[in-house]
């Protein structure tokens, strides 16, 4: 409390008008951010630069970065991660766009039910959900039971299983931002478009998608980044062909105890994620509509 008062008093001469109140309100979240987010980040940063982490007396080096970046295995894993993540993202968008459209413009009284279903589906424990996919995709699972012929072994412990499971896990976070963006679209725009001769394809491409674009970009930020660092899904339903970056970092640090390489790899991914977010954010803003 004393610290809080001190902060306000020091800031007071510079703060104008409501600035004083804003500082007081922001104190708690800023503190949390520093303690829980920035501090671990600094620790990880120093780990990636220490010659023999966590020995702080061992001196600093960029060796871990050059090692990580020149190791072909890491590039292969990066490629696997990107194509699995992107395929899952494309599948999710293919589901989320029509679903959000249906919820906003067609569902009527079912809108709330669908929204709640999406939220509740996300509330389930993730590990339970992922194990459920083992039951669905397994050798004696539901899908193999439905499809005639010999059991398909590529359904489980494969990139396919990881993609399907990731898509199912993150569908809520893809749909809700797109739903919110579409909610702001005036339905009379579609009637105008129909009146001017537009079919469903022109309506989607020239009106629905451009106006829902901010939601699409936000969904991509929200989903892509956690998906690329996810290791639980690949652990449970993945196989040797779906070894992903999240698992790699985890195995480097917890498996081999190689804190230097793990931290360096993690920081590189962080920088890429931030760059990706900024790009998506910029695109979303470009499409922001003034009305």
């Amino acid at each position: 409390m004393a610290a809080a008062t001190g902060t306000i008093e020091r800031a007071a001469p510079r703060a104008r008008g409501s600035g004083r109140g804003a500082l007081g309100i922001l104190f708690a979240p800023v503190t949390l951010l520093v303690v829980l987010f920035l501090a671990p980040m600094v620790i990880m940063g120093s780990m990636s630069l220490l010659r023999f982490p966590p020995n702080t007396a061992s001196g600093y080096t960029l060796e871990h970065y050059t090692d990580v970046l020149t190791n072909p295995l890491n590039w292969k894993i990066a490629w696997t991660t990107i194509w699995i993540g992107t395929t899952a993202m494309v599948i999710m968008l293919a589901i989320a766009l029509p679903l959000a459209y249906y919820m906003v413009f067609r569902a009527g009284s079912w809108e709330l039910f669908l929204l709640l279903s999406l939220v509740l589906a996300d509330e389930l424990a993730p590990v339970v959900k992922i194990y459920a996919w083992q039951v669905i995709l397994g050798r004696n699972g539901i899908v193999n039971w439905l499809i005639p012929g010999p059991p398909k072994s590529w359904l489980l412990f494969s990139p396919f299983a990881v993609i399907v499971t990731l898509a199912a896990t993150y569908i809520t976070y893809t749909t809700i931002p797109i739903y919110a963006a579409m909610k702001a679209i005036d339905p009379s725009m579609f009637e105008s478009a129909i009146d001017l001769g537009a079919g469903w394809w022109v309506q989607s491409r020239r009106i629905l998608i451009p106006l829902a674009a901010p939601g699409i970009f936000i969904a991509m930020i929200l989903v892509y980044i956690p998906m690329l660092t996810d290791f639980v899904t690949a652990d449970i339903v993945g196989g040797t062909g779906s070894y992903m970056m999240g698992q790699r970092v985890r195995d480097l640090i917890l498996g081999s105890g190689d804190w230097g390489a793990g931290s360096a790899l993690n920081l590189i991914m962080l920088v890429l994620s931030v760059a990706f977010s900024l790009l998506a954010y910029r695109l979303a803003r470009l499409n922001r509509i003034q009305t």
Binding site: E191, I194, D195, G197, Q290
Partner: protein, 406 residues
């Protein structure tokens, strides 16, 4: 801008067969015995309207009267349960909106916020693949028509309400529709702008020669712009006539009440003489009307416009209604003062007294006044709808006639 109507699309052989001469029916819309139900509610009940090409036609009525549903059936957004929509001699009842040569202007405009003014306007021509040069030429032509030069690159969000309205008009007109359908397009504007836009719309309609079908609940708006008006109520056309006719010769009590201010009086037929019917109120007071020749002694509904009622200063003509009453309210409205006069029979009459004399003495509440008006100004509701007018296919049905007698 020329109206190309039925010549704009290559007609099929069936269409050619049904079109005696291509231009005779340009812009003509026929609504033929159309009924539309939404579950239990009959929104439009056996409506027939013929709108000749180049007319400014309005559908007027309170909300829920079926006017917007009728318009949406002409546009193709709703399909009639019974009846046909015939556009320029071709039955389009089953044709989707995109394939009908009409365009609609929506109350909310439905402008595309992520496109510039010219992109919005070019939307239709691009879908119709008119070609770059043709599209560019049409867009700049129509921008000049609605006076939006200099705003081509703005987004709708950067325009005022009136300018957005004009973009919506231009976006529809650029397709050179046979008819333009307007659904309360001025509803979102403030009063002053609305009045300006009314004149502008009328002017635009005359310059382009396009058929305008206009839906509104504002009787003044309809009166200002329209060649003819269909007054709708409970899904039926109560009366279809020119603004003057609607005001002077309302076909039903509903029309009399909806168009302007009106005094509706239930006239008991006490005696008939000299082609007049009279209701005696005692003390020499009476209300007269021209005998509609229906015979019988059933009460007749008459309507008297407030401005036709005069305050008597001397003797009253023998052919004039003559009643006394007490002023209960006097409201100064500028050009007129509105008096509410309570008769000793308990009826209230609204009287408009023209303020055309500086310093003239005004009756105050409590004052006793004598009112008179010519028998010809007691209009017997529904007595003289011209059933021979070939354009008036929206004549009163049996149902509205029954309503009139109420």
């Amino acid at each position: 801008m020329t109206m190309n109507g039925s010549t704009s699309q290559a007609p099929t052989s069936a269409e050619v067969a049904s079109m005696p001469s291509p231009d005779a029916r340009a812009g003509e819309i026929v609504v033929e015995g159309v009924t539309k139900r939404f579950s239990e509610v009959t929104a439009v009940d056996d409506v027939s309207i013929t709108i000749p090409g180049g007319e400014f036609f309005s559908m007027l009525g309170p909300s829920g009267c079926g006017k917007t549903t009728t318009l949406r059936m002409i546009a193709g957004f709703e399909t009639p349960d019974v009846g046909r929509i015939v556009l320029q001699g071709t039955d389009v009842t089953a044709v989707p909106p995109a394939k009908r040569n009409v365009n609609m202007v929506f109350q909310a405009y439905g402008l595309f916020p992520h496109m510039s003014v010219s992109e919005n306007i070019a939307f239709g021509p691009k879908i119709k693949r008119l070609g770059r040069e043709e599209t560019r030429q049409r867009v700049s032509e129509v921008i000049a028509t609605v006076r939006l030069e200099g705003f081509e690159d703005r987004r709708p969000g950067q325009l005022s309400g009136g300018q957005q309205q004009r973009v919506a008009l231009a976006r529809a007109l650029v397709n050179r529709p046979a008819a333009l359908l307007l659904d309360e397009p001025l509803g979102a504007l403030d009063l002053k702008l609305r009045k300006e836009m009314q004149l502008e719309l009328k002017d635009l309609q005359q310059r382009t020669g396009t058929t305008f079908v206009y839906v509104t609940h504002d009787q003044e708006e309809a009166m200002t712009m329209s060649d003819r008006i269909a007054v709708m109520h409970d899904g039926v056309v109560e009366q279809l006539a020119s603004p003057r006719e609607l005001y002077q010769r309302p076909a039903s009590a509903f029309v009399a009440g909806f168009i302007g201010t009106s005094n509706l009086i239930e006239l008991r037929v006490d005696r008939r003489e000299g082609g007049l019917i009279a209701m005696d109120l005692g003390e020499g007071q009476r209300i007269l009307a021209v005998d509609p020749g229906l015979g019988g002694t059933d009460p007749i509904t008459i309507t008297v416009r407030p401005e036709w009622i005069k305050l008597a200063s001397g003797d009253v003509d023998g052919r004039a209604s003559h009643v006394g009453g007490t002023v209960v309210d006097a409201v100064y409205l500028g050009s007129v003062t509105q008096l509410i006069v309570l008769l000793h029979t308990g009826e209230r009459l609204t009287v408009h007294r023209l303020n055309d004399e500086v310093g003239a003495e005004e009756p105050r509440p409590g004052a006793h006044v004598t009112l008179h008006w010519a028998a010809e100004h007691s209009y017997v509701v529904g007595s003289s709808v011209d059933r021979t007018d070939p354009r008036t296919t929206g004549e009163p049905t049996e149902e509205t006639a029954a309503r009139t007698g109420r």
